[in-house]
């Protein structure tokens, strides 16, 4: 027979192991559900099928594209190759401006149209989403 101490220790290790397994299971399950993919307008154009999940789209706000009315703000996100129309009800951050970087979070209605539920902009006025930087470099 094993001593009481050995048994206790085995129980302790077993419980740690079990809780680790449980935790990783929980974490990875909810990761799957809550991941938001980040895409550029070009990537959205090339999507084989439209997802119903929430996504983020990053790019620049096209010059002269912001149209405002009482309820909505409409604008165009561009990565200088492709464009995406965004409509949004809600409040926008300070650095949301034409010709600046922006990230819109929301649901795709079709390949050209995003219903945003959140608009994010970066703190740094010189910041540009990396893929936009790449796209700009490609153009020059």
């Amino acid at each position: 027979m094993y001593g009481k101490k050995v048994k206790l220790r085995a129980l302790f290790i077993l419980s740690i192991f079990l809780s680790l397994v449980l935790i990783s299971f929980l974490i990875f399950k909810s990761l799957e559900e809550n991941v938001i993919y980040f895409k550029s307008p070009t990537e959205i154009k090339n999507l084989s099928e439209l997802e119903s999940k929430k996504i983020r789209v990053g790019g620049m706000v096209k010059k002269n594209s912001i149209k405002t009315n009482d309820l909505e703000i409409n604008f165009i996100i561009t990565d200088f190759k492709n464009e995406l129309i965004v409509s949004f009800k809600g409040s926008v951050p300070n650095l949301f401006e034409e010709g600046k970087g922006v990230v819109a979070e929301g649901f795709l209605e079709d390949r050209n149209y995003l219903k945003a539920i959140k608009i994010l902009a970066k703190h740094d006025e010189n910041y540009m989403p990396p893929e936009v930087k790449d796209a700009l470099k490609g153009n020059n």
Binding site: Y37, L71, E125
Partner: protein, 623 residues
Amino acid sequence: MSNQVGNYSLYIALLVSILLIFKSYKFKSNSSKNLDSKIFSLLSIQSLMILISFASLIYAFIISDFSNETVYNNSHTAKPLFYKISGTWGNHEGSLILWLLVLSIFLFIFFIKSNNQSNNYRVLTVLFQEIIIFGFLLFILFTSNPFKNLFPIPIEGTGLNPILQDPALAIHPPVLYLGYVGTSIIFSSSLAAIVCGIVNNNWAKHIKKWIIISWIFLTIGILLGSVWAYYELGWGGFWFWDPVENVSLMPWFCLTALLHTIIVLEKRNLFQSWTVILCITTFALSMSGTFLVRSGILNSVHTFANDPSRGIFILCFLFFLIFLSIIIFFIYQKNISKNLNKSFLISKETAILINNWFMMFFLSVVLIGTVYPIFLEVINGLKISIGPPFYQKLIVPFLIPFFLFMALAPKLKWIRDNVYRINIQQFIQLIISIIISYFLIIKFGISYVFAIPLFGLGFFLFFLTIKDFFSKDSSLSQKLSHFGFSLFIISILLNGVLAKEYSSNMKVGDEREYMNKTIKFENIKVVQESNYKSIVGEFKILDDRSNLSMKPEIRIYDQPRTLTSEADIISTIYSDNFLVFNILKDDGYYNVRYQHKPLMIWIWLSVILISFGGILSYFKRND
């Protein structure tokens, strides 16, 4: 001129660092007392040199010396003096000098304060700390030197990002750094202690002060950042699960766990290895916090445009330190004296272990949520982000057992206790709390699944921590911190479910109806200030009981040309009214957001209470 002074003093500090590493490595415990004064003088020279270089950088900022590249990139002559000074650490290079300064000054203080400890242990701590200092000096001198000369000298600087021109943000980095860097002393001394084989209650008593002080600074540092984000970014909340916020929260969880474990080590001489592991992890998390924020690899809205080569250096250095500490831990682990103290399942020791379990769980959730997107991007190029629901889903349900433990466990005794001490009175309180939460949920129509037990146990914890003030079981500092925490929980729970938000695009003269309130946009005024132009909106928020007039601002800075919104917040002890507006383009429309945030002020106050408990405990005499 100040460039040269700053630069050369950094090089001298580097030399001293090499000398100190060499000397402390060669140190034998039988050496004379002479060495003590030698190390003392070397340490003071080093701290002085780094202080001089920091001062010369501040000086360069004050006189707007644009021959210095850092000053040129981050300052402007038209900036108020206060922000010229705070601009010193508002940028990457300057903030690293501050890191370094705190590193060396903390080591200096540690060396003076620890003269009742064995020389061997003190010198080893100096050795490990100097390795960190050496790494940071190399990093500063070769990848982010703040004393680079510019020629020809520009006439005007490019200015400091205006959202950083704010009192809360001026002191947020130094306070946070004091917390981060405090963990470096904990790290070095825990390694030294394990090498000397003195991981015991004496060491715990001595290092506890450092743990408390880092914890206080870290807590207040996080609070300041959070307050700033609340009013300056116009987000109108206190936590957004943004990666940059998360990296400051991770060492906090670890440090909080350590804060509890060290008491067990002090009182009962248990959990030696675990304490050392926590010490190492806390520092590793603080370092990775710096790395993640500074490297710019985080996909965060806080990300500042940055240079990736810096990130690689910190990453390599971080791995080196972790590797070193793991090796030391395994080689010297046998030094840890086998402990014969018995403890039983129901005891304070177990309770603190459970606390640690929760902290580690919260830590791993936040860690995975923060790091997983980075890994995924490296592995298959997918860009993802993880939103608040992930954290809420994983953390909130676990708060229910956490509250229960936190309410009952502090009353347990050391070594062995009895469950039957949980008496009928507490049971009644629990029932009452559940009933209160039930009615609250009915009244406000909250639909969250776990709402009843969550609120119920939240109130239970709240009542019990209040009642604790009248008992003599534990120290005042603990009561205060735990009460602060329960107040925090109640405030964020109520705030979370009762907060209301309305946003709309409005022109001057417009009126909007929202939840029996009327929001009137009456007028705008333009005011010219010294370094920005201000557009002040005049709003009225009307309902049947009150008539608030609110004046949010939009500031247009010239250098660099940026817009910032200054929210107008009316705080009462019941709730905050938060109004912010934003200009979209010149078509007369303003984007207006109104928020009603119940109990907001209590969130800040409760965190202050929590850290005040820490302060009390720091000044408490050792008994």
